[in-house]
Assembly symmetry: C2
Homo-oligomer: 262 residues x 2
């Protein structure tokens, strides 16, 4: 089993109760990445619900998770024909850290109209993008290949571009095929685009993150684009867009985070 | 008490348990509006939590609500110094209809950097916008004044513009001052912008809606803009932006909804 699957794997210990282990290998500045936590929690819902793919997952992050054991307590809210709803509480030492509410479905059975009404961001070819310059102590960077548009990389090296966005490519370093659960990880994987205003100022804690999954990705690296339009009184949204390497939209996300200058 | 306050008012019947009444006066095609339901549920959180303003509220709509009594069962998830977390279940006849998870805060105390990195949509002056042409049987339209950019109104009259957006002005018809809870209503108040592709096709059911509240609005009508960028296999997002009449951003929203041609 490859690293992402292994380190989000859960063991059922009772009805609606799973246990997992948050490893220290998906951390940014010592804090486990929110997308990693969301993917781990979603595995419990995947196990408990009759549908296997996330359609939309919302996470509220109450207290930062820590590496170590985690209890996932699932409540099945509704079982339907084409979709089902559930929530899962992630607790460590009895303390509620994260709450997820989600709709699961069978993505392959989605059908209906399609229409794109948004300008495609300018994502440079994979080989023209450059590796994200992240500190070695960010263990997350060892698990996820992240390549950014070359003209945006200066924002992360202390010369903010002012663009409000970061774009590029991403994939798991373990070579795992990108599955819908890994999209939850990738939706929170890039550095905050607010860094393009102020440089890499430090931790930008996510309060809430919702990921809409639109389809199963083709094998290969994902194209991604993250942007922040409105920073108001230290509160911002970060919108994410993920396409597979064939150019199909596979997920969009929006989060609320807090921003403080150091 | 004015109509919006009166018809979202709750009575506490036990610890963490409030009761309200969903009236038939906020319905679209017979279904109570999702923003109205969110505002009603948020009143229970406002009563239960130590902070009085919504900062971010996420709703999952499992089953359409109906006019009639509603039970609001609150769970306080975390009480913090500057913010608090809670969830509330809205049940009718014992059936879970809607689940809200929210962060509450004191909006007046938010402080930090502000930076806008988004083009301002072209919202015409109030008097240049025209009333939304909605059927008389949509009781919602009697409670909420809605004025739309004149060049967009054709989309709702069977001549789709293809623009993917709807913009204009909105306020409560009862003359109530716009408070942060009413922003939850307004975030789901305009017709779906997908109608600008296909015309008014019918109900576009919301699966999930998250509203980020950014500040208390100045008195007066709100400017609003709603857009859909990605409709894929019958699934779409709708992004909403609300400014007060002084031009300050007061809320942004994103929802996932299902779209079917008739």
């Amino acid at each position: 089993m490859l690293k992402f699957c292994r380190e989000t794997a859960l063991e059922q210990v009772a009805e609606n109760h799973w246990q997992g282990h948050i490893t220290p290998d998906w951390s940014i500045a010592g804090v486990p990445n929110g997308g990693y936590i969301m993917a781990l929690g979603a595995r419990a819902l995947q196990a408990a619900l009759p549908h296997s793919d996330p359609l939309t997952v919302s996470a509220h992050y109450l207290v930062p998770a820590q590496p170590g054991p985690v209890d996932c307590q699932v409540e099945v809210l509704r079982r339907g024909g084409s979709s089902s709803h559930g929530c899962v509480r992630l607790l460590q030492n009895g303390e509620l850290k994260v709450l997820l509410v989600a709709v699961f479905t069978d993505l392959a059975k989605l059908q209906g109209e399609s229409r794109i009404n948004a300008a495609r961001p300018d994502i440079k070819p994979y080989d023209d993008c450059v590796p994200l310059p992240l500190p070695d102590e960010f263990t997350f960077s060892r698990q996820v290949i992240q390549r950014v548009n070359p003209e945006q990389v200066q924002s992360l090296a202390g010369k903010p571009s002012g663009a409000g966005c970061l774009s590029g490519w991403t994939e798991l370093a373990d070579g795992a095929t990108t599955d819908p659960l890994s999209l939850l990880l990738f939706a929170d994987s890039f550095p905050p685009p607010v860094f393009s205003f102020y440089g890499p100022t430090g931790w930008v804690p996510t309060l809430e993150l919702t990921v809409q999954v639109r389809g199963k990705p083709a094998p290969g690296p994902l194209q991604c684009h993250f942007e922040t339009g409105y920073l108001t009184n230290g509160v911002l949204e970060e919108d994410g867009y993920l396409w597979d390497c064939d150019g199909h939209l596979v997920a969009i996300s929006r989060q609320m985070a807090k921003f403080r200058l150091p």
